[in-house]
Symmetry: C2
Subunit: 149 residues, 2 copies
């Protein structure tokens, strides 16, 4: 039940964009360096986010990426689902288009899986990028006496 790196790196990258929201485009190079990720790999992920209209790009020198909406309008769920698809723990409980197993109607395991799915969705849909930025800034202040990477 691990999130793949797609989802995790995607959230990390979107957090960076949220941090610099309103300050013009940020290049992939900067994002990758700040978060310690492969630039080439991030490229693939951000292409998906761009097609889903979560980020905008500006080509050419001094170009880069920016959020296409304010950080408080984009949730972690938007990002993760765009990159990983539904977070349903099984195909039989994917929202709207569940793959029907033979005993779909009366399967007690399905009930369990639905509860897991709903719990995950509730969490990721309730956290916005702005929440992450706020948390981060609060933490930096709190720990300003120590050396932070």
């Amino acid at each position: 039940m691990k999130l793949s790196t797609k989802g995790r790196y995607g959230v990390q990258a979107m957090f960076e964009l949220a941090l610099y929201y309103g300050e013009g485009p940020i290049s992939l190079k900067v994002i990758a360096e700040n978060e310690g990720l492969s630039e080439h790999y991030l490229e693939q992920l951000i292409a998906v986010l761009r097609k889903a209209d979560l980020v905008k790009s500006i080509r050419g020198a001094q170009g880069g990426y920016m959020l296409s909406a304010p950080p408080d309008k984009i949730t972690v769920g938007d990002v993760i689902r765009t990159l990983e698809g539904s977070l349903a723990p099984s195909d039989c409980v994917v929202e709207d288009i569940p793959f029907e197993c033979s005993r779909s109607g009366g399967c007690p395991t399905k009930v369990v899986l639905e509860k897991i799915r709903d719990a995950i969705n509730k969490v990721i849909d309730s956290i916005t990028l702005q929440d992450m930025v706020d948390d981060y800034k609060k933490m930096i202040q709190k720990n300003s006496y120590m050396y932070y990477i």
Copy 2:
């Protein structure tokens, strides 16, 4: 973020054992048939559950498996974690022994991952096999007018 079949089949098998708890050993063949699973594959999974002392086995003809504790003492979390390991969505937030990434202290993504982890754990640790059995029996009654597989 899918549960592998290990976890799902494991829960299905344990549900079967819960359904027949107190009625002597149930053979893998029966479990596999009832749930529509491969008997050989289930064998591997139940071996893990046996080593974790969640089920007991009786060898030889008329042998089989049974829960080693009453269904209300075994949670879905016990079963899934035994078969899949921690349900933390990333290695950096595995309970007790997280794999430390470079920015572990101040990583805002980690906070998100911890919340997902906790939400999942809360759900699976709150559902016992007895709960599944109760749900199932209630549902059968409710739908007794229709033909159920």
